[in-house]
Symmetry: C2
Subunit: 331 residues, 2 copies
Amino acid sequence: MVRITDVARRAGVAPSTVSYALSGKRPISAETRRRVEESVRELGYRPLTGTRAAGGGHWPNVLALVAPLRAGVDPRTVMEYAGAVVTAARGHDHDVLLVTRGEGVEGLRRVVESTPANALIVADTEPHDARLPWLRTLDRPSVLIGHPADTTGLTCVDLDFGAAGELCVEHLAGLGHRVVALVGAPPEVYLRDTGDAQRVVRGFTAAAARHGLSSSVLPCPASPAAARAVAERLLRERPALTGVVVHNKAVVKPLIDAFGALGLRVPADLSVAAVGSTSLPVTSVDVPATELGAGAVDLLIRILNGTPVPEATLLPPQLTHRATTAPRTTP
Amino acid sequence: MVRITDVARRAGVAPSTVSYALSGKRPISAETRRRVEESVRELGYRPLTGTRAAGGGHWPNVLALVAPLRAGVDPRTVMEYAGAVVTAARGHDHDVLLVTRGEGVEGLRRVVESTPANALIVADTEPHDARLPWLRTLDRPSVLIGHPADTTGLTCVDLDFGAAGELCVEHLAGLGHRVVALVGAPPEVYLRDTGDAQRVVRGFTAAAARHGLSSSVLPCPASPAAARAVAERLLRERPALTGVVVHNKAVVKPLIDAFGALGLRVPADLSVAAVGSTSLPVTSVDVPATELGAGAVDLLIRILNGTPVPEATLLPPQLTHRATTAPRTTP
DNA sequence: AGGCGAAGTCGAAGCGCTTCGACACTTCCT
DNA sequence: AGGAAGTGTCGAAGCGCTTCGACTTCGCCT
């Protein structure tokens, strides 16, 4: 193992000079710097990062990204979080340590407590996540991606799902649609008060009222059969329907297919917009994974700097117009 | 910041006693240990991991996982690597640092050299990866997931694609098929000698010869149209064909559809097996991402321990029988 | 009673690194 | 010429931690 004294000896200078030459914290003559750098290269010297913490230097900044890497969660989204977090963290001179969900909260606790990271980003949290109590008492700052039911004592970023619901309605209203429906999550999700789902409903309903649209909301289980049933029911009960917002990833395609089978062409007869990322060419408010990851890092850095931050940060939604929405054809 | 001396003072013992109480490297009375642990808890003491390296202790083990998190690569596979690497690494008491491809090799170099990791796992390498020369001269050990054209001076794990090709043929031969074809990668891939592609061809051809099967190989661009053309050509030139192996993810579904359109039912008239993971219910030799990740960590640990390891480790393929292959119906 | 080994604790030294204060040397200004 | 104001370098001290050797206590065996 090569130490700073080895480099110093080879370059014919004092260890402190090497330190200054490498850190640039004091002026060093060009010639000396050159010799030091050469010695570093030749010996393959790599300062032992940790020992800087002693001697008053900076502790190498490491933040842990806690993400379930294998569960049912959409890997593409998690990857996008991860990429964004790494990039943003590097911008703030932080490294990112990967922590997968250990066996249960207890395992996670052990892993995190033995980890050299001084801050946490927890991706994919649920409204009543079992990790929340633990996070609240953790001695290291953390930022959640997602939106717990109770945010007190926590910091989190999420897409503003309420605004997303509104945005979809506004988009449809702007296209001239007067009768709209929201096809939402499976019924059981609403019972377990999954914040997102209800926020979308609230935004959707409020915006529809504001624009004087006739609106209805239907939960929908995540199966093609359920999608067909919902489509049929909508056509039966709301024959004037021309705009649909879907907040249920699994059901977007089946639903469009079902409407097609029932004789409604999308978007000619019926406009469909989705809340949440799909891989389909559907007009949608995507989950801005990159912005969420970057936002989480940003909040964390602010916390580490001692700046006060709000408990919940909601990112403004952005609607991407794709092939499934169009102006209402005058009836 | 809480130091070991603070804990010691509160527990009424010497700092060294705290150190021993926590590390267990010398016997400490139950009572003293209790008091130390209590003080640790009350003060929220967390030893500054890095400074252990000084004083002769162990440097905290960190390995860097270099993975392109956003490129065109299949995120599901990358995630699976990542998960497996993290799990395996934890088993060997290592943390995993995430490094995304910085801007070009140069950026990557800077990031990695400033990173406290003492070993690297590089996922998704290409046969002539631009990073190879750099990895060869790197002063830290590394293991690649993938198979460089030239492995000298490197360590890598990969699926044994040659054996995968053979395995598919054996599977088909076992089902009674006598005339088989391999639909491979786009032609340009073969020109750029992408190792995998050619290894599959070699395995396929050798196994076919060994089993006395009539075989042919066709490259295929990654478009539905190309798939259709290949299907037509196969039927024209090899009317007796009953078994097809596809080593081209993008084309599996289009190809099956094309055969269907030409009047051949899969698997009744034609058996189709794929090399490489698809999300379709197709008989296939999947890329064992979990095993690859775990294998990479394993190799790395062995290297770090000074055990010599082979340059290339090839994992035996495993064929999963699904709905697209069946015994040949006697003609 | 005396000796011995084990158990338990402490102080001091040392790890690789950074930082502080001091020193020598150069430049530039009057 | 003589000082002030940089420049560039060094030695020593110190960071939080571990480890080593030494010391005290204690129970146990002769």
